[in-house]
């Protein structure tokens, strides 16, 4: 998809861009990187260091210092879709950062405004370099410095950490324990590997349209709960580049949550519990909590379609055995077992219908209809309810891969997903970095006059007017990355609007709080 004409871009956009540029102060001379170092930082707790539980993942979203992944030797599973070679070479990566990566918007997103503030300046970035060294505690004062450094280091990916009470680069000058994280977006991580026992189409790092539906339904349930129950509004969903999605809850109220409140939310959303040997994994109380009954309403159609038809989960003997073990009544189970054994290839939909059909015949005298209904609800939840990697959400200091970086394995860009149109998102059609660069070339070839060499300066440069008085297009606008960046911009606009009105209210609140607490 190529944007055809420069005029198709509204002039409003360009003026907005220009304003941003004017407001950004001049970049101070680039600081040398002598205070960067690789390896594990001092004073990190063992638990945090060890947090690479997704060790089946060659490129874990969570951070583990000193993870010196050897890309070439990692077993690289073949993508089902024809992705152009998984290896992204350093030149391609550099071209991507130079021409396409939306540094300015990422800055505005994390800075919560145009004027550089500690929200951005004290924010930790962690860079994974091409040689797999891992640099933690990087920080940048402005968008320009950020861009410069990324271009210089050319990392294969980078992660975003919390905002600290001081500049993370200064941590060595402080006494131990003085540097504390003070805010970070509340994040969630959904990964399809956690669904391996219930998806029949793919395993490990592979995905297809069928199993992506699990992520779609997870997004729906989590998004709804965050909005309706917790009242959060600014939730950015991001494709993780291969087989999962991340959520960034950016509301001011969410960013300041201490770890125990984060744990509370994670616990609230966590329903499927227990390991391989725990038997029934969903055990929820009756009556159903409003969150559960609402989620059940969302998930029922998905269960009917995805689990029963697309995945045909219960067709195998092992899975139907598991289904029986989740049902409460022995008599009913016996008759079900007999029927299913007589027709081994019976489809899941029929098996599911059998449960009710046989229950109605009243053969089992001990059967309690309510228990059966509850058990069926639990089964629906066990097979569809979001499986979150809750460790990611529980800690403020957890690092999470930045939006718009390239997944080194697939070459795909970690693009935002519009949760309102989650069903329409197809991970296999997300552009890869090589496709995008080809699109720029194709566009430039079609529009020879406008292709001045300095456009290569890319996103960070001031887009100056060309002879016809129109605006020179930024490189991303020539590519299929445009809709994603546009969505990201509209998301930021919403967030900034709230910040502007919210800041005043919050300071008022703060003083009120103070007087209240004085009364005690």
């Amino acid at each position: 998809m190529i944007v055809t004409m420069p005029h198709s871009v509204s002039s409003q956009d360009s003026s907005a861009n220009r304003k941003d540029d004017e407001l950004l102060p001049d970049a101070p001379p680039e600081t040398a990187s002598e205070n960067q170092e690789a390896g594990a930082p001092a004073g990190v707790k063992l638990e945090d260091l060890f947090n690479d539980d997704d060790d089946d993942d060659e490129f874990p979203a969570s951070s583990a210092p000193d993870t010196k992944h050897v890309e070439s030797s990692a077993p690289e599973p073949a993508e089902p879709a024809a992705a152009p070679g998984p290896q992204v070479d350093t030149d391609t990566m550099l071209a991507f950062y130079q021409r396409l990566f939306p540094f300015r918007y990422l800055f505005q997103w994390l800075n919560h405004g145009i004027v550089p503030s500690p929200d951005f300046g004290n924010r930790e970035f962690a860079l994974t370099l091409q040689n797999d060294a891992y640099l933690r505690y990087q920080s940048y004062a402005t968008a320009d410095l950020f861009r410069k450094d990324i271009l210089k280091m050319n990392p294969s990916r980078f992660e975003i950490g919390p905002v600290y009470n001081t500049n993370p680069r200064d941590r060595k000058t402080l006494r131990g324990g003085q540097m504390k994280p003070i805010s970070k977006e509340l994040v969630f991580d959904i990964d399809l590997t956690d669904y391996d026992d219930i998806r029949s189409c793919c395993t490990k790092a592979n995905i297809c349209g069928k199993c992506w539906t699990f992520v779609t339904m997870a997004m729906k349930v989590v998004d709804t709960a965050l909005r309706e129950d917790f009242g959060f509004e600014h939730i950015l969903w991001v494709y993780s580049g291969r087989r999962g999605a991340h959520a960034w809850v950016c509301d001011p109220r969410a960013r300041g949550l201490p770890d125990d409140r984060r744990r509370a939310i994670a616990g609230y959303l966590d329903v499927v519990r227990g390991g391989n040997s725990s038997g029934k994994r969903v055990n929820i109380k009756r009556p159903l909590h409003p969150h559960m009954s609402r989620s059940l309403d969302i998930l029922k159609p998905y269960f009917a379609q995805t689990t029963l038809v697309d995945q045909d989960t219960f067709v195998s003997p092992e899975q139907s055995q598991r289904l029986l073990s989740l049902l409460p009544d022995k008599g009913l189970n016996e008759s079900l077992r007999k029927r299913w054994e007589s027709s081994p290839d019976r489809a899941s939909t029929n098996k599911w219908a059998d449960i009710d059909a046989l229950a109605k015949t009243g053969k089992s005298s001990t059967l309690n209809p309510t228990t059966l209904r509850d058990a069926k609800q639990d089964i629906v939840l066990e097979y569809t309810y979001p499986r979150l990697d809750s460790e990611v959400s529980k800690k403020m200091i957890h690092l999470l891969k930045s939006p718009f970086v390239i997944h080194p394995g697939t070459g795909r860009v970690c693009v935002p997903i519009d949760a309102r149109k989650a069903e329409q998102f197809d991970p296999l059609s997300v552009p890869t970095v090589t496709e995008l660069l080809a699109e720029i070339d194709a566009w430039d070839a079609e529009h020879p006059g406008t292709n001045a060499p300095e456009t290569a300066d890319g996103e960070g440069s001031v887009p100056d007017s060309d002879a016809r008085g129109g605006r020179r297009l930024q490189d991303y606008e020539k590519t299929s990355l445009k809709p994603y960046i546009d969505y990201f911009r509209s998301f930021i606009a919403g967030l900034l609007k709230e910040e502007r009105t919210g800041k005043r209210e919050r300071t008022d609140d703060a003083t009120e709080m103070k007087t209240e607490s004085m009364e005690f």
């Binding site: 990190v44 993870t67 030797s73 391989n276 009556p287 159903l288």
Partner: protein
């Protein structure tokens, strides 16, 4: 440059001096009159007490807190804790309600009790604010004490106490209650009729405990808390305030500029906060002369408790363990005396199907970190983490899909547990039935010890009879490494345990 002082006192007006600028302002202390039995400990005490009182009161409170901690480490149920604590409280830290005296709160005896409670709390704050670890334990124990007393308070007095706290709770109006009836009932298990309960609206951040358990209805960031969950809210508030206050105390501590009267007492107190948590001391699990090497683990695994055995079996079956499983098992192996080098060899051999590069890049660092070979100063100095106790394994692990750590008695379904036990050779029907009952009653320790006693019954009988082991050597096992050591020694016969 002369700066105009706008604050200069106008001689014709009355001087309104800033209170901060008055040099010797007489301190104004709020005298405490203790109208309620319970106390949120917001205002520090100011009256003078003797040094003996200072020490004695603190020690008395400490005894109570230590008992409370011990109960929680032994995993006692609330009812058992209750029975255990009540006599101690009566003896060391009685606190009677207003109704217990004809004079009400004015009675001198009540005042004395409350004064002691108040002062001892603040003395211990001084003693336990120094390190994060001490603060955490102190907050935990104090919160449990508060909860215990709060539950036992007289209803009317409790209400008066709550009112005195000025908490910011907004009652839910009737029409809103009707409108949300379905959700409110859904979120409150066991409630039949809407009229039986009153709800309060608070910011959800105030009741994280309830949110985590999904025990309140949430809407747009507000939690609708049923009246009976008051306890949880009050306790959360108590904990939050205490944590904040301790943090402040710790910052003020270096400026305590004290002579040698109080500091020794305070140090002594914090040292004596009987470290019930570290039931496991270093080298405790070591067995002298036992050949503990990577190649022997398979053979030794018959002495492992079920949690570690299950991990071991899983490792052999899948040639892989997930992160927390590795951590739990590595620390245990460290505890039985497996050296770092041997441990790396053990895992390297266990992870079949991985190349050396993969193993080194993904797993080796974690093993070294667990041994304190790498990581920050703190980690190195402490030589990594101590092996997990049963307490830690029971409470802090919640194995998810595909994970194998935790305690089988607690985290496995009963059928899988019995299956696992049978596969390890426990097939006595009585024992299995006992395990079932124990697990039903959440007595996971007892179940594990039951299995231990059954598997070693002949040896135990013998050492008891010939008197080489006394009763304390056969005390309830509360640490996987103790399990191993005892099991190993019993099989080795004739050797008495050296330091259990």
């Amino acid at each position: 440059m002369i700066r105009q002082d706008f604050r200069r006192i106008d001689p014709k007006r009355r001087a309104t001096l800033d209170h901060k600028k008055k040099q010797f302002a007489a301190p104004v202390f709020k005298q405490q009159d203790y109208p309620h039995r319970l106390n949120f400990y917001e205002i520090p005490p100011t009256e003078e007490i003797t040094l003996e009182q200072f020490e004695q009161w603190a020690i008395d409170r400490l005894k109570v807190l230590a008992e409370i901690e011990a109960c929680s480490y032994r995993n006692k149920s609330p009812a058992e804790t209750d029975a255990h604590i009540t006599p101690h409280l009566q003896k060391y830290l009685p606190l009677s309600s207003n109704t217990s005296s004809s004079n009400g709160a004015a009675d001198q005896r009540l005042k004395n009790e409350r004064q002691k409670d108040h002062y001892s709390h603040f003395i211990l704050r001084l003693a336990f604010s120094a390190t994060e670890e001490l603060r955490r334990r102190f907050v935990r124990a104090e919160t449990m004490l508060f909860r215990f007393r709060f539950q036992r308070d007289d209803t009317r007095e409790r209400r008066a106490f709550i009112d005195s706290l000025n908490l910011d709770w907004e009652p839910v109006e009737d029409d809103e209650k009707q409108r949300l009836s379905e959700q409110l009932l859904g979120a409150t298990p066991g409630l039949r009729r809407l009229d039986d309960e009153t709800w309060y609206k608070v910011d959800w951040e105030k009741v994280p405990e309830l949110v985590e358990r999904r025990a309140v209805f949430l809407s747009k960031g507000k939690a609708y808390v049923p009246g009976r969950e008051q306890l949880s809210m009050i306790v959360a508030e108590f904990t939050a305030r205490l944590e904040r206050a301790l943090e402040l105390t710790s910052r003020a501590l270096p400026r305590l500029d004290e002579d040698d009267r109080l500091t020794p007492i305070l140090n002594h107190l914090s040292k004596n906060f009987g470290s019930a948590e570290s039931v496991y001391t270093e080298n405790e699990g070591f067995v002298d002369g036992a050949p503990i090497t990577a190649n022997n683990i398979d053979r030794l695994s018959q002495h492992f408790p079920l949690c570690m055995r299950s991990l071991h079996m899983n490792l052999r079956k899948n040639n892989h363990l997930k992160h927390y499983g590795r951590l739990q098992y590595t620390l245990f192996l460290k505890g039985i005396g497996l050296s770092l080098e041997e441990c790396i060899v053990f895992w390297r051999q266990g992870f079949k199907g991985f190349t050396d590069d993969e193993f080194n890049s993904r797993y080796k660092y974690n093993i070294r970190h667990a041994y304190g070979d790498v990581g920050g100063d703190q980690n190195r100095r402490g030589r990594g983490y101590p092996p997990y106790s049963c307490q830690k394994i029971l409470n802090d692990s919640n194995p998810g899909v595909g994970q194998t750590h935790g305690c089988p008695y607690r985290h496995f379904s009963i059928d899988n547990l019995i299956g696992l036990l049978q596969s390890t050779g426990v097939n006595d029907r009585d024992v299995l039935r006992g395990v079932r009952e124990d697990v039903d009653k959440m007595r996971f320790h007892i179940a594990c010890n039951r299995v231990f006693e059954w598997t070693h019954k002949a040896d135990i009988k013998r050492v008891k009879e010939d008197g080489t082991w006394n009763q304390t050597d056969l005390d309830t096992i509360v640490h996987p490494n103790t399990y191993f050591k005892r099991s190993y020694l019993l099989k080795q016969m004739g050797k008495a345990p050296k330091n259990t």
